[in-house]
Symmetry: C2
Subunit: 353 residues, 2 copies
């Protein structure tokens, strides 16, 4: 089924209102969540709406949080998400980073007591309108084994960096620090397909091409999987440390699971999960026009590079931007299983899809 | 041949003095350069001393630069390296970042008009003594093909992040954003061995296991090589942008080559090559003791994870720290080819190895 963006927006907004989100928060959460569907990251969008509702039903999401700064310096802040939706906490914390950058050049915000925040790229991109470089990362439920480990200790811990350009479209990198995001395994599971080597290992820590490997006690592999995962492990660790050790959120194996049927650790080392945001004014380094002219040159140089036969060199963000343009006009395609889940959620609150 | 660290230090310092470095700069350059040999990154240490000297002979390194801040805000600065050794410019720029962090919580410095700066980890680690998280990155001569490209447009563009711990040794990640650093290809070349799949491609953009592939018109692959290099390409691009587009250095294919027999681009888009440094006071987020106690818990939890048979889970920085401890006592092993090159350099200036 394909639904117009506006229709999916209204439905999602009404669900967030129904669980008790104040109107402005419901709108914000919807915009954040659907940014994933627009940009083609289907695993992180409305397909997760039911998951958020079930977490709320389990008392693990505060629909009306008081998000606030608990500590700050001129260029830093710690934000407490008060157990709210990361979809709401994230943009509010990013705004703090942007305001600090306006005053002292850069702003850096570490967040505790939050929940999953959708796609990292959405938050990083909030900086673009201010001629700032935006950075966003988050830790997540443990699904990833450090190099040589049989145990899952890290989430897919994504990093996003958005850089403003001039005439060219902006540069937007948004990547899990694993070889593949868990959403890609879920897609392979639904289609009963094997997964490529380097994506996952089994419960004994051996390489596996079974899409169910992670479900059956295995783990996702950090970026670099097949040829050495130590760099991806280091990147995922850095995200965990900046997002949670710095803020006072849970880290490593203590990060609460996204699914309501799994219980959070009994001995938490912090509050909720953590995010980390950065905003850097480009004119805190050189005049913005000059910076953007060179970004245009950077982008057009890379895009024009001689390519392998049948391919074209892309700029990070190109595919997602094209998908977003198509889906804004043509609607959001939804898998049948997702539609059924959404209809169930709708029925629960008397909201029609 | 194995030489005591102190002996290699004196020799290297005398060479830097001989090319005209002021005494303090010669000492600083030596400490920076030999940090690579101590930590086991042999490709980036004294093996490159001859290369630096030949660049100086070609008039492409200023031995007595006036390194200075050309623009700043409370949390940012642009530093002009005045064509100096990156080995000297780097630590001076990192000091600016640390001083800004002392005042406003974090400091971020983009550097132009510099040269190769040794290992990124050395610069990031300068923050540790100040209870700060240190970040260092640099762009480098183009050897890496973006995903789908036949052309080299990026350097191996490393990222280093150093995080202070309490009782545990500090966390120090230092990685090229390629699957393998160029130094590893050089080692395979010297030993006439093939290289693993995923490290490099040939001139047509096809995967190659020939250690000479890059020399023969091919390219190194970004991190993720065999299973998809787009994430490594994005990471290397981010390093290039923060180091050079932000500072006014050369970026992409315009970054000057390290070897003196290759000429810099005739139409530079900036000055020299670029670095990017960050320093974040941990107590700009939470009390330093609290942070370090949680880092200790993070580190001991990860190190104690059940491992694949015959292996142990390592913390980023573990192998390099152990190598440094051994080499400080037992000396620095040098390949015969490196010793010969150093003896040649020594003869040129009347300095005995």
């Amino acid at each position: 089924m394909t639904l117009p963006y506006a229709q999916l927006f209204t439905f999602t907004e009404q669900i967030f209102q129904a669980i008790g989100c104040p109107d402005a928060d419901a709108t914000l959460a919807t915009e954040t969540l659907l940014a994933a569907d627009l940009r083609g990251i289907d695993s992180h969008g409305v397909a997760r709406l039911g998951g958020y509702v079930r977490l709320w039903e389990a008392g693990r999401i505060n629909a009306a949080p008081r998000v606030g700064v608990t500590y700050e310096t001129p260029s830093t802040a710690v934000v407490d998400g008060d157990g709210g939706l990361g979809l709401v906490v994230g943009p509010k914390a990013m705004r703090v980073a942007i305001e600090k950058a306006q005053l002292v050049g850069t702003g850096w915000v570490s967040v505790r007591n939050s929940n999953h925040f959708g796609i990292a790229g959405y938050h990083a991109m909030l900086a673009l309108a201010h001629d700032m470089i935006g950075i966003a990362m988050t830790n997540a439920s443990p699904l990833v084994a450090p190099t040589f480990s049989r145990e899952r200790l890290l989430g897919t811990n994504p990093i996003a960096v958005a850089v403003p350009a001039g005439e060219q479209p902006d540069f937007v990198a948004d990547m899990a620090t694993t070889t593949a995001a868990n959403g890609k395994l879920e897609i392979a599971q639904r289609k009963s397909l094997p997964i490529p080597a380097g994506w996952a290992q089994d419960a004994a820590g051996q390489p596996s091409t079974d899409a169910h490997a992670v479900k059956n006690g295995g783990a996702l592999l950090p970026l670099g999987g097949a040829t050495g995962s130590h760099k991806g492990y280091a990147l995922g660790s850095i995200v965990d440390i900046l997002s949670a050790v710095l803020s006072g959120a849970n880290y490593g194996p203590w990060v609460p699971p996204f699914v309501a049927f799994l219980q959070p650790a009994a001995n938490p080392v912090g509050q909720g999960l953590g995010h980390f945001f950065g905003a850097m004014r480009v004119d805190a380094f050189r005049p913005a026009d000059e910076f953007k002219a060179h970004m245009d040159n950077w982008i057009s140089t890379f895009r024009a590079a001689p390519a392998v036969e049948g391919k074209q060199v892309l700029i990070p963000g190109d595919p997602e931007r094209e998908t977003a343009a198509q889906r804004l006009l043509g609607g959001i395609p939804l898998l049948e299983a997702v539609v059924q889940d959404l209809e169930g959620v709708g029925k629960r609150f008397g909201v029609k899809l």
